[in-house]
Subunit: 164 residues, 2 copies
């Protein structure tokens, strides 16, 4: 192990991105194994962020994460790691519901917004009907007397209502 | 293993819930191990739903699920299993984003609803201002002539606007 560690320490890792000799990636460090050239974890779990891999390992297991990454094209691996880290952190924070808690919360938020939107739209329709009626009443009683009705409420409300 | 399997087969499992002798739970069946009395998986992974455990095992690993359940009080384990199954199924369906895809989709839906709601509320305010102005204009020109203005637009709009 001593020789392997020295080898790993003298090799640049895809994930470290720093100049000079890089340490083994966070995954290999935690798993106490040689961080070989082409290590599947190295580009996504740099040595300076050990908590990311520790959390993912605790929740999903290194073997499952490795298998999942290997089955994905290179271009999707970074996003997969981000989503795994997000899920794992949510599970550590809330062991019962994990990130399903966030989904439930967002769904409740959507229900609230939908009811507020339905109410606002119903109010707009109600105003349209009331003011259409008011407009006719005013036209019948006052328009002949003055002829200076400047605003057409029907036109105004039609524009306001059906544009949303 | 033969004797153990017979023992497991002749014992009722917490998760099976059926009358008569129950088979080992889905977890022990998949892991090819004895389903002992008090098996941590048995109440939540009945034999007649093998896919639930298979999916959770593939994504999280049996050992991680077992550890997680053991750390939770009994009353929370069923919810934890439900959320794990949900997450695991989402990850199998979408290996890159898992259930984070659902979170992103819900967040986009919330943004859309928030902008629709803001628009509807702005329309209500705009109508309020326009009709308040129209009401004053009509009052100035026509109310003296007839005196039969039946609707107070200000009152109507005040009621409509500030109740939402």
């Amino acid at each position: 192990m001593g020789r392997e560690e020295r080898e790993a320490g003298s090799r640049k890792q895809g994930g470290s991105g720093a100049g000079g000799p890089a340490s083994p990636c966070a995954a290999c460090k935690l798993l106490r194994r040689r961080c070989a050239q082409g290590c599947i974890f190295a580009p996504y779990f740099p040595a300076d962020e050990p908590q990311k891999f520790a959390t993912v390992h605790k929740v999903f297991g290194a073997s499952n994460v490795s298998k999942l990454l290997q089955e994905l094209p290179m271009g999707h691996r970074s996003d997969a790691v981000s989503s795994l880290v997000y899920e794992a952190m949510a599970r550590v924070r809330d062991p019962v519901y994990g990130c399903v808690a966030a989904i439930s919360s967002l769904q409740r938020h959507i229900q609230l917004l939908q009811s507020q939107l339905a109410f606002a739209q119903a109010e707009l329709v109600r105003l349209h009907l009331h003011h259409a009626a008011a407009s006719h009443a005013v036209t019948d009683t006052a328009a002949d007397a003055d002829g200076k009705m400047m605003l057409s409420l029907d036109v105004l409300l039609d524009h306001a209502l059906w544009s949303c």
